[in-house]
């Protein structure tokens, strides 16, 4: 079983050279998953100086916090830490969240590389193809396709709004938030290394770029780029964009880009218990999707 594991169940997560992806999704119960993990660690050869973090794909397994902490223990002895757990079962997701791990439903469908230069297209056709609609996979919003973000210009913000965008950031979890209490009209840009909160609308023709999350307390109709690559800092595809209504021309999260469908059918207001639910855009299954916000429900 051991050589088998090395070949199939262990792979370096694409784009994260220092993170291992260990697949336990073929285990049928938690005991088997623990055995698979132990085997994997024992048969695994890796450079402990380079690789310290592990992403676990547990698939549809039902795992308790207790089992997760055992896994954490096994990995800790090998000098490894769990970064993200990919779990599709809500109970497992909750357990993993309670244990303090990042939780995703599935590993990214396509490998992608953060912090790279934009692809060079000598051929005119290729850039257009990238933005051509692919498929209608999301019930709320059509076409998405990853693309490298455009290079960013910090001075623009400072010019327009007199904000110092160069804020030293040590940890991605401790980002500062830029708070703006006004609507953003066409032509205005905000770029900020951290989260951005806007109390007001973001009009078509304006752009908001943040290395963290974006929250719009109003309608989002311009371009929003969350988890952006600012000043060479790594972009983060886990960033999210929230607004009362997302009718953005384009949404970008890290290297992903989604454009508004050419024929925007009129916006749906989903009313639940008399309330219009706000919307959140995030990367899921390798593309940007818009969901109705359901926090606290």
């Amino acid at each position: 079983m051991s050589s088998d594991i090395r070949d199939r169940d262990l792979e370096q997560s694409s784009g994260h050279e220092n993170v291992l992806l260990i697949r336990l999704d073929r285990a049928s119960n938690s005991a088997q998953a623990l055995t698979m993990l132990t085997d994997a660690i024992q048969t695994l050869t890796f450079n402990p100086e380079k690789i310290q973090q592990v992403n676990l794909n547990v698939g549809e397994l039902m795992l308790t916090q207790n089992v997760l902490s055992k896994m954490q223990h096994i990995l800790k002895e090998a000098g490894l830490q769990i970064e993200t757990i990919y779990a599709s079962l809500p109970q497992t997701q909750q357990a993993a969240l309670d244990s303090g791990f990042f939780v995703r439903e599935k590993p990214p469908a396509q490998p992608f590389v953060l912090n790279t230069k934009p692809p060079s297209f000598d051929d005119l056709d290729s850039i257009a193809n990238i933005l051509d609609p692919l498929k209608k996979s999301d019930p709320l919003w059509g076409d998405k396709q990853p693309l490298a973000p455009p290079a960013l210009n910090i001075e623009q913000v400072e010019e327009v709004l007199n904000i110092s965008a160069h804020q030293a950031q040590t940890s991605s979890d401790k980002k500062n938030t830029f708070y703006l209490k006004q609507s953003l009209r066409s032509g205005k840009t905000i770029q900020y290394d951290g989260h951005v909160t806007i109390i007001g609308d973001v009009h078509t023709g304006s752009e908001v770029t943040a290395s963290g999350d974006i929250l719009v307390w109003g309608e989002l109709r311009g371009i929003a780029h969350a988890g952006a690559n600012i000043d060479g800092a790594k972009g983060d595809y886990r960033s999210e964009i929230r607004a009362w209504k997302i009718e953005a021309l384009q949404l970008r999260i890290a290297d992903y880009i989604a454009r508004r469908p050419d024929k925007m059918f009129h916006h749906r207001d989903v009313v639940t218990e008399g309330l219009v639910l706000p919307e959140v855009a995030k990367v899921s299954d390798g593309e940007i999707k818009i969901y109705k916000e359901t926090i606290g429900r």
Binding site: P118, D122, D123, I127, A128, L131, L147, A151, G205, S206
Partner: protein, 274 residues
């Protein structure tokens, strides 16, 4: 899609001086018209800060890079070109919305046009209103110009000023007039300047006439240039203009010709009465 000829393409600037006379509409329609004829066409929006050409083409949601990203070296020119969703041989180089006219210089624009005309048969440059930096940038790389004017004194006066500036530039070898928003009924009742009056005041050659057409508003809002609509008079006007730009000899439309069946009947009775 490759260029149809090996020669360098033609760079044509669409300008007017006065705002709101239809520069951007004319750019979108001439470009689309030429592309329909099979030429490889690039549209360039130089109205930085107040861009609209993307909207008229219905391409606003596809813009990733713009002309300022190109001149500031953040991407290559062909990378910034947005391909039209209807025709693969038509592309748009959008202006930046978040900058101003000073983000581009005449030298940069000239270099850009040089690059583009190696790749395209036609490079159609949409100029901003005014005669300042934005206008100077727009005409910097052009060899030909189309002056857009409406039959109003203010537009004619501004067009005259623009033609003077164009004549002063050696690089521009050819310029012609597009008279937009012509209302034959008002001309008949002497409420609007006659086409010949305008041509005489400006002493310029006519490239084409576009009648006032409410369908233009609809097509602008839909992001579909009117040149693609077969049953519109304005669309016919732009198709004729595109053919003339390409070098064909097309007779001018007779705007007085009755268009509807009822008009024809009326015309018949009018003729028999006189």
């Amino acid at each position: 899609m490759a260029k149809t000829t090996k020669n360098a393409g033609r760079v044509i600037v669409i300008t007017s001086g006065k705002g709101g006379v239809g520069k951007t509409t004319t750019t979108a329609n001439i470009g689309t018209g030429l592309a329909r004829m099979g030429y490889k066409v690039a549209l360039v929006d130089t109205d930085i800060g107040l861009r609209n050409l993307d909207l008229l083409m219905g391409l606003e949601n596809r813009i990733v890079y713009n002309i300022v990203d190109v001149v500031e070296g953040r991407c290559k020119v062909l990378q910034a070109m947005v391909k039209d969703k209807r025709m693969p041989n038509l592309s748009l180089l959008p202006a930046a919305q978040t900058r101003d006219k000073s983000a581009l210089s005449e030298e940069q624009m000239s270099t850009l046009c040089e690059q583009l005309k190696q790749e395209f048969d036609f490079v159609i440059v949409d100029s901003p209103a005014g005669i300042e930096q934005g206008f100077q940038n727009a005409i910097a790389g052009a060899n030909e110009a189309v002056v857009v004017c409406t039959p109003e004194m203010s537009a004619v006066r501004d067009a005259d000023r623009i033609i003077g500036l164009l004549e002063a530039r050696e690089e521009i070898t050819n310029y012609k007039l597009v008279l937009n928003r012509v209302r034959p009924n008002m001309i008949k009742t002497n409420d609007m300047m006659d086409v010949d009056d305008v041509l005489e005041i400006l002493s310029v050659k006519l490239l084409g006439l576009i009648p006032e057409d409410k369908d233009i508003i609809i097509s602008t809002n839909k992001g579909e240039p009117i040149v693609t609509s077969d049953d519109s008079l304005a669309g016919q006007g732009y198709r004729n203009i595109a053919r003339r730009v390409a070098g064909e000899d097309v007779p001018f439309m007779n705007l007085d010709a009755p268009t509807s069946f009822v008009d024809k009947i009326k015309g018949f009775f009018n003729r028999s009465a006189s």
